[in-house]
Each structure stands twice: as structure tokens, then as C-alpha cells.
Amino acid sequence: MAHLSLENRERATRLISLYPKDRSALIPLCHLAQSQDGYLTQEAIQDIADLVGVTPAEVYGTATFYDMLHTEPVGRYVVAICTNIACLLNGAFELLEHAQKRLGVYVGQTTNDGMFTIEEAECLAACDTAPCVQVNHRFFGPLAGESFDALVDNLESGRLDDVVPPHGVLNRVERSVGLTSSAKREAAQ
């Protein structure tokens, strides 16, 4: 449980300044908070609420609409296995079962060591690599039994650390400029 760090508060104000209206930054700020704590803490929800000028109930209500935003803690690695049509036709459910056995938890649960959370994902737009898997939204696939186990080993051993940052870290490339053109925020306000 944590509030946004000073550094992230500055990032937040920069993000807000990119939009004609403050509330537009709500979701980017939720991602920012997740990159700090791995999920949306209640303190972060309060911070975001007063940063964009809505109530915490509205931030909570908005955040829970979206699958990527977690208001409960999750594992360091969220393993999302797509079972939608293209993957289904290529053995996704078999893979999902294998994954649950391998990690010893069911969909939606987190391993005791807090390393892995399994999610059953909807189509991840990588159907040519079906059945496909995302770990913290980095793509892997096609996967089957062994290749999945290998992936888990590599994650556990940290061999993939620079490819797969901890959950919550999404876009590691920061915007290098603010708004420059004459079309200013006031335009919409």
C-alpha cells in the first residue's frame, strides 16, 4: 500500500498536461500507479482522484471496468493465456490446464511465493502464434507443454528480466516532449 512517489507525482502532472481535460489522464495515471506498486493501491486511487479532480469512487469505478487494472495485489508475473477462437482451435485449453498444473494455482489465483498469477485472456491479437501467452503483456507463443515450462523456468531464474519487467510496468519509453503546438489545452476547456 503506497501513495504515488514524488517522482511519479511529477510524471503524473506531466501526463495530465498532455490532455485538454484532466480526467483524460485517469487511465495513464492508473498505469503509472501500477508500475510503482504492481497494482492500484487505495492510496494511489485517492491520489489519482485529487490529481484529476474526481472522487475516489469514480476512479475505483472506472479502473475496475478495465481488465489490466488490478485493485488487488497480483503476482510479479501475470501469465495471461488466450483461449479465444484461434487459440482454442490450436489447443489453448490444453495449455491452460497444463499451466494450472505447472504453477499449482487456478485462473485468477497467485502462487504462494507471489511470483505468478494466471489469467485466462481474451484474444491478444497474436492469432498467428496460437496458442499465445502474454507475461506482463509481453508476447510468447505458440506454446505447448515443454515450451511453457521453459518459459516459467526462465522467468523464475530471472533470465528474462530485461524482456519482462515486473507486473505493472507497461511502456518503458517516456515521452520526451510536452505539448508544443498552438492547439492548447484551453481549446476544449
Partner: protein, 893 residues
């Protein structure tokens, strides 16, 4: 009476639409669902609410609507009428869509109607009966949630029953302006949720329960209390405060169990605050007075009406004989009905001959000001270009007026100027001017552009922006289109400051209208009835007399009596022999408690006419129990001067009487007769002898004005008897609403005189008095010395007053007791948040714990009015009624 049918008379353009084959002239911009309803076609609906923006979620109101591309199913709650449009609500296709939606709403809805509070008055249940398919085709698993959870102190949510109509969430954000609940999650997982660390504790939470179309939201005060078919009901007026919201009072087995808001356009538009909605519990409180009490020397003992009245009568006769009428005085009466108040005024001013009567307790405004200033209606305020609020936190004082004003500011029709010594609930919607208590009149004069007023110590910038608002709002000449809300929002600031502020604005903006934000339910009615020094029934001065009155009453006092404070002062000097308290806890509620206590010590006979045991009844010699809210019939008058019926639904406890009857009996005891058979006889006499109430007779009160009341003087404002925006779902279980049926949605306005503003223009005696006040120099208080802080004493909705404390649902919610101080000052004093320090006024010194509050000015400290600590110490112990302001010293312990 001339009748005007709005829909015809207002020569509005109309659009003709064909609804189920018949052509109908609709109002431009009207929603199809509304037009259809006025055309007599009721389209089923769940999420649509006439007082909130449509969202088109539930899809129950789908109808076939023609368009260039042919007919298509459209939500009639979202689409506006268009010329030549064809609407079909009953085609097989529309029917199937509607019945399909109904079946789908039921697939996840539990079948627990028998144990559901809503069972029997549930639109979903009714519609299912009406045209749902007989037995269900749904054999799958229903969605499951843990049973009800508390989302706030008063409201519980059963998520299984929720049909995701978003009425409650829209109310919270749109109407109340505090989105403490919102939809969470997605699709069929959607649930209404507050934020975990911030419960749904809103003064208006109860409205969400009333508008919930199913049994998902229930209120603890009513849960499992009754079944709809056991309910009896009567339309009445809320006596929680002076807004006078129209309600339906529902009782079961002789006890009040539920209040619902009725939609009256001029007043509450179906909303209520929780104090009004649940305050009725006080009626059944254990501290109700059930028999007369007599003080047998050292303690109060149960007595009989005969004994008690005899004792009262003897004391009065005695006083009259030995000391004359001026030795007898009346304090209180703001919670009586107009009829009760009138009876006591007749007793005091005609039978006994004393003018010393005062419905207020030194916590209000002089009667001549309230009655003499040009009055605004609530709708005039919400339609005004600019509204100036003079030092009121309306959400705490008159909650539904707050809703109405906030609404008009949010949809941009009104600019607000908030002059207050502390931030208020309207500040964030307003141009604010802050000041130190005592400077209100200066502030008023300055923003109104008065020159040669010293602006020392005030925020120039704020004053300038307020002036800009006034100058740029497009006000008419003399302030036409300006409404000023004035009252006593800060009891630390004496009435003379508030008065000076009001009359100054009246002088500079002669055409501006005023709402006196006095809070007690019927204070305006009581003043109209003459329950104040210097005035007689119907808004006339003693001098003007009113020969009609003298004719019926015989005599009226020829010299002006004294107000509550004056009476207590002469009482303290031993000049008062008999004091009547009329439903008022004088010892607790008079801001200067020290004075009240000294007076009571000297007054030989206090006759207390009351509903509840309180400090004052405990100190009285004679206590006479009377009927309270819901226990008697009559009329009450709200802040705009709207006279509306208050209705008896249950019988008073024990042997309590209606108050007017007590007045008659006391008159009889001293050998006189008020001449009233029943309360309606009084209503008739008021209509006959009280100028401002001419025409407000029984036939009007029980006729055209039955639902919406009538603003006096009649003809001043047309009586709006437009049957309210009907929403059988918004106001479930109000049979009087349902019985009107959809077809009655015809706008209809009745005016006693041909419409238009017929308010008396030639200054009456009161107007003269107000002008005189206006001529006096603007009152200014000296700056506090550098060791002192200036005390601001502000009311909160849930205080330690009798009404709140006697209602079990509200009592727990009063604000914690404490002195609010700016953190930097706390630092200076070396005291930290929550610790104790010593507060010292010329009256006394006492320990208080402090609450750090950065929103305050550094010279201002705040205590809640009637928010005593455990030892019953409160702000009123610090106030000296004769001082302009209260300066206090703070000392660390």
C-alpha cells in the same frame, strides 16, 4: 379564479407527432416518453427519471420510431420528438422488444419478492405480472452475491437485486454533486460501489432508496418495518426545515414508518434530505411528553389537563391583576402550525394584551425584515441571474434549497456569490468573498458598489470579482434578477450585522428579491401569524392594526412588546411573571444561555407547551403536551411564503392535544373565548383577517393548492397545480401519485388574480420600517485584538438539538464536538490536532478539544451550534447576545 392551461396559454410552438395512430401536439425538445405520457400512452421504463439526464440503459422503453430510413426500435426516454415523427409503442415488434427486455432483467433477478421490502410496490414485479411470460425459460444459475452490504450509514445494497439502471449513481453525481457511489466492474459484473475508505454518507442518501426501481437499495430505518399493503398515507409537508418539502407520510399500525418526497416543481422536485426523511422518528421517541406535568415545589409530577390548565390560568390571571399584560410573554412557536400560532397570537395580543411574543429565540432576524423585504420564491432564486448567499451553509441549514441552487448553478442558469466567514458547501460553485465575522455588512456594501466604505482587512481581489459577477450578469435596473439569501448562518455574528447587510443590499438593489434562510420548519408561518413583537397576522404592523382584525378581535396591544432577548432581559430583572414557551427549548437554544438561565431563575411561572422533554420543560412550572408532526392538521408556510397543508396521519401519544386547543382552553380559564371549534375554523379566520392570507381559505387549501400549496399573497405567484412530473418508479408506493395516472400530465396553473406579478407595491408599514433600517449606517465590528480569535458559530444538519437527538437513525451522525482552528495558529499555540485547550470568552472559560482546519482564516475559530460536548458545554455558553461579535482567547493547558 381564472384558470390558465399552460399547454395552450403559453403560445409555445408545438411539434405534431403521431403516437399509436393519433396525432398529438408535443412540446419542442420534449422526450418521446414524456410526450407519449401526456398523450395518455404510458411507456414502460426503469432507468428514465424525469428529474435526471436520460441514459437509455435499461432498454425497457423501446418503441418503433419512424425515420427517413424507415422504422427502428429506439429508446423513447432518449429520443426527442420531431415534426412529423411517427411513434408506435404497441406493435408486435415493440411489444416483443419490451417483453424481451423484461425477461432478460429477470434472468439474474432473485425471486425473493416475499422477503423484499419492495415486494408489492415494485415496478419490476408489477411489469412481470402485467406482461412477462408466465413461467420462466431461464433454468441456468443466477448471479450470486453475498446478501445486503452497508454502503453507508443509512443505506444497504443488495447487489443481486440491482438492475443496473444507474438511477442512484446519477443522483449522487448529478443531483447531490457528490459521486460517493459509482458503477464498478463491467458487464453483468457491474455493481454499485462506494470507495472502500469513503462510505456513502450523504445528507441525501435516502433519495437513492426512493428512486431505486427494485429492492436493491433499502434504508435501515424502514427495512422490514412494513409491507406496502399495510401502509396508509397522506400527503403532507416536511417539518424538518423551512424549505417545506412536499412529502407523503406513510404509517402502519398507527406509527409513522416512511416519508417519501413528492415532486412539486416549485419546491423539492421529489427530493428530500435525510433529516427530513427520517426525522419523523422523533415523533415516536421515548422522550415524548404524554401527559400534562405540574411542578409540585421541587419536582415535576404527572397531572391532568384540568389541574394543569387551571394552574396556568391562575398564574396568568394573577400576573395580569398584579403587574399588567407586559409581565406576560411568549417565546417560541416556529414549529407550530399556522393555526396553532394564530391561536396563541390571539391569546397573547387580544385576550391577554401583551405584544411580547417571539417565534424566534434570538437566533433569527427581526420580523419586520423577514416580512418587509421583497420575497423571492425558490424558483425565482433558481432562475435568477445572480444569487448572493449571505453567510449561510445551505446544505447544513436548508438542504433541499442547496440542491436546487446547486442545480441551477451547475446547468449554468445562475451565478452564485458566496459571502461567508468560512468555506461553505456552495463555495466551490461560487465566487467567494471571505471575511472575519462582523464584516458581513461591509462586504455586502462593497460588492454592491457602495463607495466611502472602508475596505480595510478585506480581500480586494475577491470583492472585485464579486462586483464583476454582478456587473456582467446582465441584471435589470435596480437589481432586477438578483436574489439574496440571508439569515443567521453564523450565530457568533449578531443579528444587527446580518440585518445591516440585507437592508444595505435592498437599498442599493431595490428590485432584488430575498429569501430569508431561517431554518425552523414553520418560522415564516409563525411570523406571518404575528408571533413577533410589533406585528399582527398577515404581515401588518401593530400601528396599521388592520380594522378587520380589531373588529373580530376586539382589541390589540397599543405598545410594542419585546422580542425573545428583550423578554429574557426583563425576566432577569424580575419584570416577567409568566413566560409561555411554545415548543421551544429556550434554555438550550437561545444563543445566550447565560441570559436564559438568569431569566429562568427569576421568572416565577414558566408554562411550557411542548412535544418532548427538554431542558426547558424540566425547568417549567407547568408542562402541557401537544401534538407534533404527523399528529395534527393545519397549514404551514415555507421560506418563500408558500402555504401548504400539513396532515394528521397518526394520533398524538397519551393525552397530548393540538396546540391551538391549549390556547383556547387557557383563554377560557381567564374567562375568554377564542371562538374556534376546530383547526379549520382558524384557517377560515386567518383567510379573513390576515391581509397577506386573503383567499387562502379551506376550499383553496384543500383544493387547487392541495399538492403544491400556494404562495401568499395569493396572486403574487400563480399557483402551480401542474400535476407533478410523474414517475411511478421514482415515487413508488405513493398511491396519490399513481392514482392520478399518466393522462393527467396536463400543465395547469391557477392564479387567484389574472396572472402576472401582483405583489403589493405601495410600501406597507413593514416596508417603511425596512427603509428606515436601510437608512442607518452600515454596521461594522471592530477588528479582534491581536490576542483574540473571532468565534464563528455554525449549524450542522445533524446537531444535538431535540429533533435529531430524538430520532434514532440520525442521532448517531452528529458531527464530533470540537473547536476548528487554523493549523498555523495551533502551531503558534503549541497545541496539536485533537488535543485540548482552554477557550475563554467574557462569559466563561472551558476546555475544548481542537480540530485543525486549514480552510479557515487565521483569525477565525469555529464551533458548531447546538453541538455540545459530553458535559453539555456548547458554543451558546460563550455568546453575549448584546455583543456584535464573540472574541475569544485560546490558552494551552
Amino acid at each position: 379564479m381564472t384558470e390558465i392551461d399552460v399547454s395552450d396559454s403559453e403560445s409555445l410552438p408545438t411539434v405534431s407527432v403521431t403516437i399509436d395512430g393519433s396525432v398529438f401536439k408535443a412540446r419542442p425538445g420534449e422526450l418521446i416518453i414524456e410526450a407519449a405520457e401526456r398523450a395518455g400512452v404510458f411507456i414502460p421504463r426503469f432507468c428514465y427519471h424525469p428529474r435526471m439526464d436520460s441514459v437509455g440503459f435499461c432498454r425497457m422503453c423501446l418503441v418503433e420510431v419512424s425515420s427517413p430510413r424507415g422504422f427502428s426500435l429506439q429508446p423513447s426516454c432518449f429520443l426527442h420528438v420531431a415534426e412529423g415523427q411517427e411513434v408506435i409503442t404497441n406493435s408486435p415488434k415493440a411489444r416483443k422488444a419490451q417483453e424481451g427486455v423484461l425477461e432478460l432483467l429477470l434472468v439474474n433477478h432473485p425471486l425473493d419478492c416475499p422477503v423484499c421490502d419492495k415486494g408489492g410496490e415494485c415496478p419490476l414485479q408489477d411489469q412481470a405480472m402485467a406482461h412477462g411470460p408466465g413461467e420462466t425459460r431461464f433454468i441456468e444459475q443466477k448471479r450470486h452475491w453475498p446478501k445486503p452490504i452497508d454502503i453507508g450509514p443509512l443505506v444497504a445494497l443488495d447487489r443481486e437485486r440491482c438492475i443496473q439502471c444507474a438511477r442512484c449513481t446519477r443522483f449522487a453525481s448529478e443531483v447531490a454533486g457528490e459521486a460517493l457511489i459509482d458503477f464498478a466492474f463491467r458487464g453483468s459484473d457491474i455493481e454499485v460501489a462506494p470507495f472502500a475508505l469513503e462510505p456513502f454518507s450523504s445528507y441525501f442518501a435516502g433519495n437513492t432508496v426512493q428512486i431505486c426501481p427494485v429492492g436493491a437499495l433499502t434504508a435501515h430505518p424502514y427495512r422490514f418495518k412494513s409491507r406496502p399493503w399495510d401502509l396508509e398515507q397522506a400527503e403532507s409537508t416536511c417539518e424538518g426545515c423551512a424549505v417545506g418539502c412536499r412529502t407523503v407520510a406513510q404509517s402502519s399500525a398507527g406509527a409513522l414508518v416512511r416519508y417519501l418526497g413528492v415532486d412539486v416543481d416549485g419546491v423539492n422536485r421529489s427530493w428530500l434530505c435525510d433529516k427530513g426523511r427520517y426525522g419523523f422518528e422523533a415523533v415516536h421517541a421515548s422522550n415524548r411528553l404524554v401527559t400534562p406535568l405540574l411542578n409540585s415545589g421541587e419536582k415535576l409530577e404527572e397531572s391532568t389537563w384540568h389541574e394543569a390548565l387551571f394552574a396556568a390560568g391562575e398564574a396568568v390571571r394573577e400576573a395580569l391583576k398584579e403587574h399588567g399584560p407586559s409581565s406576560i410573554a411568549f417565546i417560541g412557536g416556529a414549529r407550530l402550525t399556522n393555526e396553532d400560532a394564530f391561536a396563541f397570537v390571539k391569546l397573547a395580543k387580544s385576550v391577554i394584551g401583551t405584544d411580547s411574543t417571539d417565534a424566534q429565540l434570538g437566533d433569527g432576524l427581526p420580523a419586520e425584515l423577514v416580512l418587509g423585504l421583497p420575497r423571492a420564491t425558490i424558483n425565482e432564486a433558481t432562475n435568477a441571474r445572480v444569487v448572493i448567499v449571505l453567510n449561510q451553509d445551505l446544505r447544513e441549514e436548508l438542504p433541499v434549497l442547496f440542491l436546487r441552487l446547486r442545480g441551477s448553478v451547475v446547468d449554468g442558469s445562475t451565478d452564485l456569490i458566496d459571502c461567508s466567514s468560512v468555506p461553505t458547501s456552495l463555495s466551490k460553485y461560487a465566487t467567494t468573498v471571505r471575511y472575519v465575522p462582523g464584516d458581513l455588512a461591509r462586504v455586502a456594501a462593497l460588492i454592491a458598489g457602495e463607495s466611502n466604505i472602508d475596505a480595510f482587512g478585506l480581500d480586494q481581489g475577491q470583492i472585485e470579482s464579486a462586483k464583476t459577477v454582478l456587473s456582467s450578469a446582465g441584471l435589470g435596473a435596480d437589481g432586477e434578477g438578483l436574489v439574496i439569501v440571508c439569515g443567521r448562518g453564523d450565530l457568533g455574528e449578531s443579528a444587527s450585522v446580518a440585518v445591516s447587510a440585507a437592508v444595505t443590499l435592498h437599498r442599493l438593489f431595490p428590485k432584488a428579491r430575498f429569501l430569508s434562510a431561517l431554518r425552523r420548519s414553520n418560522v415564516h408561518g409563525a411570523l406571518d401569524m404575528g408571533l413577533a413583537p410589533g406585528v399582527l397576522p398577515g404581515r401588518v404592523t401593530l400601528e396599521e392594526g388592520g380594522e378587520a382584525l380589531v373588529r373580530t378581535w376586539g382589541s390589540v396591544p397599543n405598545e410594542r412588546g419585546s422580542d425573545a432577548i428583550g423578554t429574557l432581559e426583563s425576566g432577569a430583572q424580575g419584570k416577567i411573571k409568566v413566560l409561555f414557551t411554545l415548543g421551544a427549548d429556550v434554555l438550550a437554544d437561545v444563543p445566550d444561555r447565560d441570559l436564559a438561565a438568569r431569566a429562568f431563575a427569576k421568572i416565577p411561572t414558566v408554562i411550557s407547551i411542548a412535544t418532548h422533554h427538554d431542558r426547558t420543560t424540566a425547568a417549567a412550572s407547568v408542562v402541557l403536551p401537544v401534538a407534533g408532526e404527523g399528529e395534527r392538521n393545519g397549514t404551514v408556510t415555507n421560506i418563500e411564503g408558500r402555504v401548504a397543508p400539513t396532515t394528521q396521519k397518526i394520533v398524538p401519544p397519551g393525552v397530548a392535544w393540538p396546540a391551538w386547543m391549549v390556547a383556547s382552553e387557557i383563554a377560557r380559564m381567564i374567562g375568554s373565548d377564542l371562538g374556534f371549534e376546530d383547526h379549520s375554523a382558524i384557517t377560515q379566520e386567518i383567510a379573513a383577517v390576515a391581509p397577506a392570507y386573503h383567499g387562502v381559505n379551506l376550499s383553496l387549501a384543500n383544493g387547487d393548492a392541495r399538492r403544491a400549496g400556494v404562495v401568499v399573497p395569493v396572486g403574487a405567484v400563480a399557483i402551480d397545480i401542474r400535476s407533478p412530473l410523474l414517475d411511478p418508479i421514482a415515487t413508488p408506493g405513493i398511491s396519490s401519485v399513481e392514482e392520478q395516472g399518466a393522462p393527467m400530465r396536463l400543465g395547469k396553473t391557477v392564479a387567484a388574480v389574472p396572472s402576472g406579478d401582483a405583489r403589493p407595491t405601495t410600501p406597507g408599514g413593514l416596508q417603511v420600517l425596512v427603509r428606515a433600517l436601510g437608512a442607518a449606517p452600515v454596521v461594522t465590528a471592530p477588528k479582534p485584538d491581536s490576542y483574540s480569535y473571532r468565534l464563528s458559530v455554525r449549524r450542522t444538519l445533524y446537531d444535538r438539538g431535540t429533533l435529531v437527538q430524538s430520532s434514532s437513525s440520525l442521532a448517531p451522525h452528529h458531527a464530533p464536538f470540537g473547536l476548528r482552528v487554523h493549523p498555523l495558529e495551533l502551531a503558534r499555540l503549541g497545541v496539536s490536532d485533537g488535543e485540548e485547550l482552554m477557550i475563554r470568552s467574557p462569559r466563561l472559560a472551558h476546555r475544548v478539544n481542537v480540530i485543525s482546519d486549514a480552510s479557515l482564516g487565521r483569525q477565525v475559530v469555529v464551533l458548531g451550534a447546538r453541538n455540545e460536548d459530553s458535559g453539555a458545554f456548547g458554543a451558546f455558553d460563550l455568546i453575549d447576545a448584546r455583543e456584535l461579535v464573540v472574541d475569544v482567547r485560546l490558552e494551552s493547558i
